[in-house]
Symmetry: C2
Subunit: 346 residues, 2 copies
């Protein structure tokens, strides 16, 4: 209630009513355009340069979320999927989850004296990359099993949480969760402000990413899709637990990505972002739907601020997907050219 | 703007301001209590009798969604999971998806003349329940493969959609989607109005339920978790498709339910509803979390309006879970006593 007043009460109350109406009208407009966080005139993507990718993204998003527009997409269908490693955060010099596994080997070595003389563990403990590489996929699988299985899901989440809090990236000397790309974090928030539901669809493990995805990306656990270990429901001291077994359940990579999207989401995304050949089928699956859609690739071109790699890299190789992106005119983001800032800590 | 007026302008405008304030205050209260759809004084569960289960549900939900309350649960953690067959819709005289499979055998019989003389298909075509039962689990598996595999996910969804539109329940002569329990539909809507995220976690197939779940339950595809067939990403005439293979991927039943909840949702529900021993582990998993939680069982006690069955039934057997529910004081809904209405069409 406005304070009681006499002179000139009528005028003051009218002005007050007008202000309330103006606010109500503005609120209504914001709801109508689906725009609740990003106001008009405020740049939703300040870490992007004003180049073609940013323009294509903004045009797609505004069209998709503006009713009556030919590019309009009903809110329920606004599903956006993002690869994680190399798309939302860095993946060099090795996938961060693999670094987690190496760090776990070191942490567990005291209770495994035999590892000092047994490969692949010896190679990890001695930092011998050549010897590690020589153990091949089988060696990596042994490391993964030794560090990722045989505990409950709660215990695993706690271990990851502790690692996230203490581990540092070897080049940038920052927590790994600081290695997220600021332009992509802005894109995720922008999409959500326009009624999109943002998902991670990554080759990394779901239960690994879930530990930090909500905090760093604003993506809740139920929108994190990844590779998975088999888990087994058991009673332990009268309480039910899920024990992580030494068996891979599913690899969410390449042709596995559309499979996982169908299984977890049950409808086709309208926007997909990846950075490597592992994302090609997800991009193709997204592209093959009817109506407006957006396919994007993060191209690592900035050795100075981050890393530069593509066709020859063993991690995050971008070769066939780059050819297809160019041929089909998908949006290829050149990190050096198109991003004003890569990391928030810069 | 109120119309311009002179006599007595001040009083009228003041009354108008007061009304606006009252509305704003009411709106604020609704937001504060998380109550946006269900207004005060309107019964959110009109198809429930005013017995213990309804009171327990309402108390739990109001507490969970009222900040400052000891039973308060942050919105992001308000995950509610529901079994489907026998919990949200009927499951007698046979699981509806199995009836779909039988109907598909009949529809496909013309292009499979050999089925006339080959079990288990002959039994289905002749309606010979005894012969069908004699083929056992292997027979059912053959029927499922013949009717559920070898097509794309899009083709399967279309087939289910056609069946849903045309098939009728043998006793009630209604579309199967009319066989949903009105009290449970109200409960789902009530929970959502209080900020809960509602999920299906069912032994039925995800891609089967997704065809109708949004329409009949208001549950979007990405919140439908079920059993699944393996799918394979393929290029068909230059377009990517997912082909349903003749292999089971995952059975979302019994101990599989907590496994699926962890895999798909990544956090523990605070409310779970089931109706059979197949839901026992899901209820246990939900119960084992910290803080307030609600475990409910739909007990089929009404042979007149629906069906009456529990410990001896081959479909939806409720035996061990009923003992546990009684011992741990979970809420057991007696359909006959606690539901004013079972189906909307009554």
């Amino acid at each position: 209630m406005p304070p009681p007043s006499n002179r000139p009460a009528d005028g003051r109350i009218r002005a007050f009513v007008r202000r309330i109406f103006a606010a109500a009208l503005a609120a209504q407009l914001l709801v109508a355009t689906g725009c609740t966080t990003v106001g008009q005139g405020i740049d939703p993507l300040p870490s992007w340069n004003d180049t073609a990718p940013k323009r294509a993204i903004v045009a797609f998003v505004i069209n998709a979320s503006t009713e009556g527009n030919p590019g309009f997409i009903p809110a329920a269908a606004r599903i956006a999927v993002f690869d994680n490693d190399g798309t939302l955060w860095a993946e060099q010099p090795v996938y961060f989850q693999l670094q987690f596994a190496f760090d776990r080997v070191k942490a567990l070595a005291a209770s495994h004296p035999e590892w000092k003389t047994t490969q692949p563990f010896q190679a990890v403990l001695e930092g011998d990359h050549r010897a590690l590489a020589a153990t091949g996929e089988r060696g990596i699988a042994q490391i993964m099993i030794a560090t990722h299985a045989g505990m409950t899901t709660d215990e695993f989440a706690e271990t990851v949480s502790g690692w996230v809090a203490s581990a540092r990236h070897p080049r940038f000397n920052r927590p790994y969760t600081d290695m997220v790309y600021q332009p992509m974090v802005e894109l995720l928030a922008y999409l959500r402000s326009r009624g999109f539901k943002t998902y991670i669809v990554s080759g990394g493990e779901g239960d690994f990413m879930r530990v930090f995805a909500e905090k760093v990306y604003g993506i809740p656990p139920e929108q994190v899709i990844g590779s998975s270990m088999l888990t087994q429901f058991e009673m332990k001291d009268g309480r039910p637990v899920l024990v992580r077994e030494a068996k891979l359940d599913f690899i969410d990579d390449k042709a596995g990505k559309p499979v996982a999207i169908n299984k977890f989401i049950g409808r086709r995304p309208v926007l997909a972002f990846g950075n490597s050949d592992g994302d090609q089928q997800m991009l193709e699956w997204t592209a093959a739907g009817a109506g407006p859609r957006f396919m994007g690739i993060v191209h690592h071109t900035d050795a100075e601020r981050e890393y530069a790699y593509d066709r020859q890299s063993s991690i995050g190789r971008l070769d066939k997907a780059l050819d297809e992106a160019n041929a089909r005119r998908w949006t290829v983001v050149d990190m050096k050219r198109d991003w004003k800032r890569v990391f928030a800590f810069e």
